[in-house]
Each structure stands twice: as C-alpha cells, then as structure tokens.
Amino acid sequence: MQRLLLILFSLFIAYSTIGSELRVGKNQVFHSIEMALKMSQSGDTIFVEKGIYIEPNLLIQHPISLIGINYPTIENNKQQEIITVESDSVSIIGLHLQNIKVSYINDYAAIKVNRQKHCVFENNRLENTFFGIFLKHSKDCIIRNNYIKGNAKNEMSSGNAVHLWYCKNILVEKNQARNHRDGIYLEFVDNSIVKNNIVADNIRYGLHFMFSDHDEYRGNTFRSNGAGVAVMFSKYIKMQNNHFEFNWGSASYGLLLKDITDSEITNNIFKQNTIAIYMEGANRVDIHKNEFNSNGWAMKIYGSSMYNKINQNNFLNNSFELGVSGKSESNNFDGNYWSSHTGYDLNKDGTADIPYRPVKLFSRIISRIPSTSILMRSLLIDIIDFAEKVNPVLTPDNLKDHRPSMKIIDYDKN
C-alpha cells in the first residue's frame, strides 16, 4: 500500500514539474538524488541542498542539470563510481564528490562520460578520488573551475584527475588538479584547449598528451609534478604562456617531448626544473621567446631531433644550458640570450661578435658519469671548460648560436 502511494505521489510530482526544478534535501520531497534522477525528465534541473548523500551509482540517461547548493557532499555507497553520464547535454555543477576507492579492474571516476557531447562540469569539488572526471569518446564538453585533489601514493595505484580518451573539442579551463597520477591526461584527443589550470603535486605528469593532435595549452602553471608536461606521439601542439616550476627530482622534467612534430613552444617560463625541456625524436618544433631560469639543464636534446628552431629565448643561470647526443646540425640555436656568455659587441648591433657554444665539456662528462656532479662550480671544471672552449675537441663544433644576444630579450610574458 505504501509503495503504491509512493508511486502515485511520484507520478504526481513528475507531471507537475515538467521542464522545471526538482529539489533534493532533508526537508524536501526527495531525500536521495537517485530518486530525484528517476523522477526527472529531459530538461529538468535537480537542485541538491547541502548535506551528505550516500548514493548508489547515479546513472544519468537524459539531459538534465544537476546543481548543488552550498556544495552537498555525495559519496557512492560502495566507494565506486559516483556519477555515470550516458546522455548528451548534461551539466553537473557545484557538487562535492568524494572517496572513490582504488581499483585495478575498473577505472572508477567521480564523473564518467561515455560517447556523449555538450556536457558541462563546473565548480565542483572532487576529493580523495581515484579518477576525477573521465570522458570517453565524447566531444564539445567543458570542464571548468573544478578543484580535484586525489591521494595518490604511487603510479600503479592511482588515476588521473582529468582523463580524456578519444575526445574532440574539449575545453579544460581554470581547474586545479592535484595529487593524482597525471593531472590532466589526453589520449587520442584532438582540437582541444587546456588553459589557465593549476596542476601541482602529481606523481607522474602534470599534463600528458598521447597521440593527440591540434591541441593547445596556455596560461597553465605546472608545479612540483614528477614532470610538468609530457607530450608524446603528437603533432601540432601549441604551448604558450605556461609556467613550469619546481619539477625537481631524479628524473624530473619541466617539459618532456617524445616523438612530437610541428609544434610551437612560446612565451613560457621554466624555473628551477631538473631538466627544463627534454626532447627525443622531436622534429620541426619552434621554441622561441621562452625564459629558462635556474634549471639544472635548460635543454637536453636527444635521439633524432631535427629541424627544431630555438631562437630568442633567455637562458638565465642554468647549471647547464644544453646537452645533446646524436646529430644536431639541423637544429638552429641563433639569437638567444645566454647569461653565461662572455662575448663582446664591438659593432654595437646588439648581438655578440663571436658565436656562443652552449654545450660545455663538463656537461658531457656529467651526463655519462653523474656522480661527477659533486665537482660542479669547482675551479678544475672552469679550467676544463675554458680549455675546451678555446680549443674544442670533444664538444660538437657546429653547435653554436651565431648571433647571441647581448641583452636579455624583452617580450610579453603575460
């Protein structure tokens, strides 16, 4: 009898709120979001009031907006996936989603989307998550202004804060992504933009591109991640106005480039990274107007990296400016400012009159025998480097900046 009443009542509610609002809360008709979802119809808006909701997996199968008021806390009753979106045009805004357990079989996420478009995830707080926001085969979505903090301990048992797989036209903007394996992960993602995010303290990479083309990221800050950004097997990537800071550790990079072509790296600041840019198999990458400040290595160019242009960058106080292995003749290093350059400019044209050779002999020794780094800044090393500079024997003769700038290059750092 009770059950029948409830159904009748629900039907009544449902019909009376077509295209309008459902409210979930302690003193509202719906005490659970699951029930509100069941009763909702396309185009409805569900408001969830502040409170703690332990729910089964919330399956959204028609276009609705799910909006939290004062960040209601939602948890899955088995600590598995909280919200699964199986409809286009779903918006999820202002929720506090938490506590998702680590699984080695399923990629449990706070929000997962499969084969949908026009979704919006905005202003949510995600905490203690395995995966945060997970999009598969989706397009035209916006992930904005979310705070996503995980609890990752090691690479094996952790997921990514934002995970995009086979997506197109996604905008990831103004989020904070912390303490996951990767902050933002893109695999087979094209024509997407990642901008103005703060990505910090992730175990592996802050931002990770795999097989993704025609994307751009700008205005982001990558701080204290295993590596700031890794761009692998991708092409036509624009990287602008980002900060890569304090990516410091035994194998840490500011920016790792592996098998990437036809891309652009401009106006970024690399500060205090173990290696600011590491490139392997990078071709036709245009690196200009960046600042490399106080890094262990400003750039390491390995493998078959060819036809790259490194121009008009400022290299300031790096322990080593450049390390190379393999052939590097086709890369162009002209017109940069090197703070360790002691050149002169007699004809006052703003560029030094003699070319500058950024590869030091000691940098080659230290690459082969890392424990020699204990001799950094010793007189012996200065002597060795000076001798090599005067009479190059072991460093590549043709690798030089033919027009090194005498002054720090001024450009808009935004």
Partner: protein, 260 residues
Amino acid sequence: MLKIFKYSLFDLIRSNWSIAYLAFYLMVSSSIIYMNGDITKSIISMMNVILLLIPLVATVFGAIYMYNSREFTELLLSQPIKRKSIFLGQYFGLAVSLSLSFILGVGLPFIIRGIITSPELSNFLVLIGVGLILNFIFSLLSFMVALRFENRIKGFGLSLFIWLFMSIIYDGILLLILIWFESYPTENLAITLTLMNPIDLGRVLIMLFLDTSALMGYTGAVFYNFFGVWQGILLSIAALSVWLLFPIYILLRYIKKKDF
C-alpha cells in the same frame, strides 16, 4: 696566549698586507655586486672568488708572517712564557686578522646593498662561514709549513703546492677516479672524497644552501640526502673541525721538540 694574540693582532691589522687584502676584497665584492645587479647572483659569484682566493691569501700571508716574525719569536721564547701560548697566540692573531679583512671587505659592500634585510641573509652567512673556516684552516697549514722549514723558498713552495693541490689537483684526481670507476656506483666515494678536502666541502655546502640547481638529477638527490640533512651537516662540520683540530694537535706536539 691572549697577550701574544693581542699583540700579534695589533701588529697584523696595521700591516700593509692586511690593508691591501681589505681593499682587494672591497673592490672585488663591490664590482661583483655592481656587475650582477642581483644579490643572489652576486653571492654565487662571490663563492668562486672565496673558494679560490681565501686559501691562497691565507697560505701566502701565513708564510710571510711566520718567516718575518722568526727572530721576534725567538725573543718571545726566551721570555717566561709557555711555547704553546706563543704559537697559539700568534696563530690566532694571524687567522683573526685575515678574517677581519675578509669580513669587512666582503661584508661592507653587501651591507650597503641591503643584505641584512634581504631573504638571502642566511645564504650570505653560510658563505661568510665557509670563508672563515677556510681562512683558519689554510693559515694554520702555512703557519706549520713555515715553522717546519726554515728555508723560505722551500716553505713557500710547499705552502703554494698545498694550495694548488687542494684547489685543483685533488679535484683532478677525484674526477679521474670517478671516470675510472664509471661502471660502479660512485656517489658514496664522491661524498667521502669531498669530505676529505675542505675546499670541496665548503663548495658543496654553499651549493646546497644557495645554488640547488647545480646539484641535480638522481645523484644530486643522493648528495642532497647526504649533505642536506642534519647528520650530513654535522659530519661536514666534524670534517672541517678535524681539519682544524688535528693540525693544531700536530703543531702543539711539534713545537715541544722544536729547536729555535
């Protein structure tokens, strides 16, 4: 000892050498600050100057002083005073006068530049501390050499060789050893050999405090984990103390039997 110390110091701080040394340091620090503009960079540049020149100046100055005061030392020895007091007094007079020139010469330009209120103050103090320790160690070494060898040419030669050895040759040998044992993990060997040379130790300590970009990668982490924690710092201080106390012990033993 204090009496001898007082008069040696009085004598030394008025010598032309001390004044020249002070002027030299004023000039070098001012021009480094002027050329770098930035105070952090100035401190790093000063590091190279200090690691090279403090041991050299202390060596040369120590030997000159000892040879010049030989006859006066004889006069002192004929007075009712212990040998120990004479030589410790003279040594500390020498080391302290050198240290004063150094502190004033480097300190004044940096104080004018505003180091006291700068966040770099602690780094600057590390730099000064390392400079002082090297001063004390190398003036002691040349003091002993000058005491041991009455022939000035021999004494100067040996003092300069000690400086050259510690500044450059030792590092060359260290580099060759590390290259030789390339296929083995040599981090601990590198640390041990660094602890044994006060100039290297001073350099690594300064780098750990103010120039972390210099020590990087996996090995940098190993070094940092050693020198950066308090056990490592204590061990470094212990190593530097041994460099000071052991020669003093040798000195005191030697002067008991020495003829003048």
